[in-house]
């Protein structure tokens, strides 16, 4: 609680940040920052100094070679999130656009065309129905029988315009032909375009241009401009969230430590289920035993939106209460322990709920209250001081103090940011050392406000500006109250740095360090250290899954050494070098080898953005281990990575650790866990999800009646095909290839009598896996030579026919030979038994 007797020197400026530049890749290395006199004793012979950064820290070593999955994979299938390549424009223009610094080029047309293809009924439904007689999809030439039905649809105005006005009062047949478009030709053109997609010299075909020009204004159900606006807007949103998605800020993973110090079973709270909408509260110890889970439905009635936030019905409990089904994706799970009871706050976009979990083992979590917001909530934090008290922020700029007993109190409602203008609607709020004072944050900084008089009593705690030595463009990403280490300290992360702030010394960070992470740290976790020990701060990013372990200290100094103001607290210092921990994706290389496509899928799955971070400190005599849990967006696991390790018992005397070997192998136990996890994954999500309703096509629209006509006498091939179709439909499988099933024994191929038709040679070639060469040959220039070769072959075949009866069993090899001779077009192979070539 004491304030440090002396702080590290620093300049204090005011105003907007001066320092330019962006993310510096190595900015966190090599600096001591400042130094401070360590021993205050004036009578000591030599003064000693301590650095702000670079002092000795505890030595922690990873316990295993990579992260180890803790739970079986989330069985419900995971839909991969949007990747940049899905929505970015990839074509010839791209490089030009990049060169011109237009930023990212979004592939708008592709998205729109996907929409047209995926939802044709919605886009063209009614007009398609109206006009379908004007579209002809047959292959044969357009013939019109003179029937009133065909001429009935009056040509729509643009079509009518397309009809030459000179058209005389011709027969109905002529008119019908004029107002019907042959779609087959158009389709062919499109297919050809599709095939030449990567061709740099593709031109718009006049026919397509004509058609689109003609139909653009009226063909679409939804006006094209409007639709395009909507798609474009959504695309921009998707892109923005790809660049930086702040909805999982805070992380959807919490560890409730065991109540008794000796007990080993804490609880892990995490989202699961298909849409990450199941709240699982899992008792979990070192032995990682699992208990039964049930489902609880959470019915939420519609309530009128008369204010930003309304109270909602409680989720009722039924069955085993360790799992709750909520009606929204869980974005954040926050937890705090007050008076021996854990309070767990859960935030989804439009709902926030609070559960209480009493410390007794086996006690069931009870839902306490649910609120619904009309604007997505961006923050939910649980008070570490008072039971059942939470802070909620919404994207409309409102901050609420939520007490389970007394209800909601709106502290502030300001859509504007605090210190300068920033577009982000993200808001955050957390508790401070004073239970009645809340911190509230937006991207520009932090303020503390008294809930008893929120308008009058507030002060600035952190400002993106010269006060904290920020860079231009720096923004607050995640504030966190670090009351468990020091009751008045806060952690603030930005995309470039981490800051530790003290409420008693507002605006001036007591610690600042450039974290060098590739993405902004959205998750943070504090593991307080005991007296004389450093506090461990874990930072985690979402998209890149990075995990960083920092240590900092600011404890009471040994009272024996210093005279003067003995025993006062020292200023905050960063201890030891930062340490990177294994991410979820790191276990990929230790998983059993996979087929390439499975490996790809696995890579995608394990590389999914992280969604949360938690840690548990376990003490076992002198050994201490830190279990770090990381949750992925796929909702697998939380895998349990590493960082379990032991600090030396006396951290001050920690000698330099040995260098860890380059790539250690995982322990046998971990390997077993990997194998089990893989097995469960392939069992649970091996097959892609079946579409609920397979897409069907009316064949009548695609073929003419004549084409569909059944032949008078169905051939055996027909019969076979029908049989296979039926069989396939019964089995629910698919037909891999249409040719008849290969016979048990390869029939000796009869060399064709006389001239071989190109089809059979082609088939022969493809049988011999050399189709490509066959094709090349066919298109090659030396036709004459080939003719010669053919002639030769024919001669050979004639001869072969002569001894057919003798060499029946060799025919296959002969065909092979003949094939060879045909392939080597210029010179007949030496093996061929033919006479010397004659020209």
């Amino acid at each position: 609680m004491e304030f440090p007797a002396a702080l590290f020197p620093s300049y204090f400026g005011a105003g907007p940040p001066q320092e330019e530049g962006g993310p510096a890749p190595v900015a966190g290395w090599g600096e001591h920052g400042q130094v401070l006199e360590a021993g205050l004793g004036r009578r000591q012979a030599e003064t000693t100094f301590v650095p702000r950064r670079g002092g000795m820290g505890e030595s922690w070593e990873p316990a295993d070679a990579a992260a180890v999955p803790l739970l079986p994979p989330n069985a419900s299938c995971w839909v991969p999130s949007v990747a940049p390549q899905d929505i970015l424009y990839r074509g010839v223009l791209r490089r030009k656009l990049q060169a011109g610094k237009y930023g990212a080029a979004l592939d708008f047309t592709k998205q729109l065309s996907h929409f047209f293809v995926d939802h044709p009924e919605d886009v063209f439904g009614s007009l398609g129905q109206l006009l379908h007689q004007n579209f002809y999809l047959g292959n044969s030439k357009l013939r019109v029988s003179v029937r009133p039905a065909v001429t009935m649809p009056s040509p729509t105005p643009p079509l009518a315009a397309a009809i030459p006005s000179l058209c005389p009062l011709s027969s109905l047949q002529r008119q019908a032909r004029d107002c019907t478009i042959r779609m087959t030709a158009l389709r062919e053109v499109i297919d050809r375009l599709e095939a030449r997609r990567s061709c740099p010299r593709q031109h718009l075909v006049p026919r397509l241009r004509w058609f689109s020009h003609l139909s653009r204004d009226w063909l679409f159900e939804v006006p094209l401009g409007l639709l395009a606006d909507c798609v474009h807007e959504d695309l921009l949103l998707q892109w923005a969230s790809l660049l930086f998605d702040d909805s999982p800020t805070g992380g959807a993973l919490a560890w409730l430590p065991p109540k008794d110090v000796g007990a080993r079973t804490g609880r892990l709270v995490y989202p699961g289920g298909q849409a990450m909408n199941h709240l699982c509260i899992l008792p979990c110890g070192v032995s990682l035993g699992r208990e039964g889970r049930g489902h609880v439905a959470l019915p939420l009635a519609d309530t009128p939106d008369f204010q930003d936030v309304v109270l909602e019905e409680l989720p009722c409990a039924q069955g085993s209460p360790a799992q709750f089904e909520l009606n929204g994706r869980i974005r954040q799970v926050a937890a705090a322990r007050v008076d021996g009871e854990d309070f767990v706050g859960v935030r989804s976009d439009y709902h926030c709920g609070v559960w209480s979990v009493s410390g007794r083992t086996g006690a069931t979590p009870t839902p306490l209250q649910v609120i619904r917001t009309s604007v997505p909530a961006s923050c939910l934090t649980v008070s570490p001081h008072l039971p059942g008290e939470l802070a909620v922020c919404t994207q409309s700029g409102a901050i609420y103090l939520w007490n389970v007993e007394t209800g909601l109190q709106r502290l502030r409602h300001d859509p504007q940011t605090m210190f300068f203008r920033d577009d982000s609607p993200w808001r955050w709020s957390d508790f401070t050392a004073h239970p009645r004072v809340l911190s509230c944050a937006d991207r520009t900084g932090l303020q503390c406000l008294d809930t008893r008089a929120p308008e009058r009593c507030h002060f600035d705690l952190f400002k993106v500006g010269e006060e904290a030595g920020c860079q231009q463009g720096e923004r607050v990403v995640l504030p966190m109250y670090m009351g468990r280490a020091y009751s008045s300290q806060h952690l603030v992360t930005t995309q470039f740095s981490v800051y530790v702030l003290d409420e008693r010394l507002p605006l001036v960070p007591v610690l600042k360090w450039a974290h060098m992470m590739k993405a902004p740290p959205l998750f943070a976790h504090l593991t307080p250290g005991g007296p004389g020990r450093s506090h461990k701060v874990l930072l985690g990013t979402s998209r890149t899954q990075e995990l960083l372990l920092l240590q900092y200290r600011g404890e009471k100094r040994g009272s024996g050494v210093s005279v003067g103001l003995g025993g006062s607290r020292s200023a905050c210092q960063l201890a030891g070098p930062p340490q990177k921990l294994h991410s979820i994706a790191s276990c990929l290389q230790h998983l059993p080898a996979q087929l390439p496509h499975r490996h790809c899928l696995l890579q995608q799955r394990l590389g999914a953005p992280a969604a949360g971070l938690a840690a548990a400190l376990q003490e076992d005599g002198l050994r201490e281990s830190l279990l770090v849990f990381q949750l992925s967006e796929a909702g697998d696991c939380p895998p349990e990575p590493c960082a379990s390790s032991q600090p030396s018992p006396a951290p001050q005397e920690a000698k330099r650790p040995e260098e860890p070997c380059a790539s250690p192998q995982p322990s046998p136990a971990a390997a077993l866990r990997y194998r089990r996890w893989m097995k469960a994954l392939s069992k649970g999500c091996g097959d892609p999800p079946q579409r609920t309703r397979p897409r069907t096509f009316g064949q009548k629209r695609l073929f003419t009646r004549k084409e569909l006509e059944e032949p008078s006498a169905p051939s055996t091939l027909h019969g076979q095909a029908r049989q296979r179709l039926r069989q396939a439909m019964q089995d629910g499988g698919r037909i891999q290839r249409w040719d008849p099933p290969p016979p048990a024994l390869p029939q000796p191929l009869e060399p064709a009598v006389g001239d071989t038709d190109p089809l059979s040679t082609r088939l022969t070639a493809s049988w011999g896996w050399d189709w490509e060469r066959w094709w090349e040959e066919r298109t090659s220039f030396n036709m004459a030579q080939r003719q010669q070769a053919l002639r030769e072959r024919r001669r050979r075949q004639k001869r072969a026919r002569g001894r057919h009866s003798l060499s029946a069993s060799f025919t296959s090899s002969i065909t092979y030979q003949s094939e060879l001779s045909e392939l080597s077009d210029a010179a007949p192979p030496p093996l061929s038994p033919g006479p010397p070539r004659e020209v």
Binding site: M1, G21, V26, P387, R436
Partner: protein, 412 residues
């Protein structure tokens, strides 16, 4: 083509950097050092104009590796830093400053002093704002080291002075250190910032030479200039100075009152409360109650026996005298909706009783007066105390029962 070559070059350079970064973050310093040699080679062919220049990268990475590498020595570190100084003109001062810090942390004070005096005389073109700041810091640290030398000489003189022995040269040396230190320290503490260390040293110098007015002015400026950050230590130093010089109670109270307004949870508030409780003035005693209530609002003081005993003592006094019960009432009004859950829950009663008996005693007294004898905290603790046959708890129970009407008046 050359464009492709450049692209590939850039890629491999970035990859090399990320390998270095990974190795460093996994504490594989040897590996990082090997990669760094490759990286330096790649930089020889680099003409890109990025914000972070390659020489800064090498300096930062190299320094960090040398700080942790198991076989690095101070000599190597010094030679590396000297090379780095000559590599980048822009960062010369920064590198010097960091070099000094490293020397200081390793106890090489004389080398650090030499280093500082060398860099102090460095000139190159027009100074940027940052360079100007760095130069001032260099001077300030030099002043600080001068101060330490001064205080060493002073100690020698004082020791010898006791023996009745006087050494003029030592004294002259001491005075010259004083002049050098004072000039530089005075300079830096004019600029807005956190200069706790420098201010303390400067004030010490001034006090030794009897320039109390100057010292007071410096401390006042440091505490009350609005351009400076709201640093609680500034107020603390001023208060300590005033106390050292036996200033009037009035000025002490006013100094601490300002500190109370700035940081209500400061540890000096306990002293302040004790000082105010003793006062004969009603207004000061009233302020004392306010101060101690405010201290106990903060989570950090939740289990502090001293703070609770201060509050208990004052509350008890007021209750016995039955004067100024309205003071308690006023303080309690803004707290009665959350203090019971924050301080006086059954859970904390149990825990306090188990962990700290005297804390539970003080808290039970306050709880019994503020919340009546029916309060959970009081009931639990007094019951346990009587069960354990501790005398003071029995007296406490009697006291609270006797003064129960007070509770009715406060809550009414």
């Amino acid at each position: 083509s050359s464009h492709e070559y450049k692209l590939n070059f850039k890629k491999s350079k970035e990859m090399c950097l990320s390998y270095i970064q990974d190795a460093m973050l996994q504490k594989q310093w040897k590996k990082a050092a090997e990669f760094l040699t490759f990286y330096i080679e790649s930089l020889e062919k680099d003409f890109s104009t990025e914000y972070v220049s390659p020489s800064e990268m090498i300096w930062r990475i190299g320094t960090e590796i040398l700080c942790h590498h198991s076989r690095s020595s101070m000599k190597e570190f010094n030679s590396f830093t000297e090379q780095m100084k000559s590599l980048g003109v822009k960062r010369y001062l920064k590198v010097c400053l960091e070099h000094t810090f490293h020397l200081l942390c390793n106890g090489l004070i004389d080398e650090a002093y030499q280093n500082l005096s060398l860099s102090e005389s460095w000139r190159f073109g027009e100074q940027t704002v940052i360079q100007d700041k760095e130069m001032k810091l260099i001077k300030a640290y030099k002043g600080l080291l001068d101060y330490y030398n001064w205080s060493k000489q002073k100690n020698i003189l004082l020791e010898h002075g006791q023996d009745g022995f006087e050494d003029l040269s030592v004294e002259q040396e001491m005075h010259s250190y004083f002049r050098k230190a004072a000039v530089n320290l005075k300079e830096i503490i004019k600029i807005p910032g956190v200069w706790d260390l420098f201010v303390k040293c400067y004030v010490d110098l001034l006090e030794f030479y009897g320039d109390h007015n100057e010292a007071r002015q410096v401390l006042n400026e440091y505490a009350y200039n609005s351009k400076f950050p709201a640093n609680p230590n500034a107020h603390v130093y001023l208060y300590q100075f005033l106390k050292r010089h036996g200033e009037s109670k009035k000025s002490l109270v006013s100094a601490l009152k300002i500190l109370h307004e700035v940081v209500p949870s400061h540890e000096l508030m306990i002293d302040f409360n004790i000082m105010l409780q003793k006062s004969k003035k009603r207004k000061r005693r009233r302020l004392g109650l306010e101060v101690i209530f405010a201290v106990l609002d903060y989570a950090g003081w939740k289990e502090n026996v001293k703070a609770w005993s201060c509050l208990a003592k004052q509350v008890k006094q007021i209750v016995i005298s039955e004067k100024h019960l309205d003071w308690i009432q006023q303080e309690w009004n803004s707290r009665k909706d959350w203090w019971p859950a924050f301080h006086f829950s059954r859970y904390s009663a149990k825990r306090n009783w188990q962990e700290n008996e005297s804390l539970s005693y003080e808290k039970a007294l306050v709880a019994g007066i503020l919340l009546g004898k029916g309060c959970k905290y009081f009931k639990y603790v007094s019951h346990q105390g009587c069960k354990a046959q501790v005398k003071r708890f029995r007296i406490l129970k009697k006291f609270v029962n006797k003064h129960n009407p007070v509770y009715l008046r406060i809550s009414g």
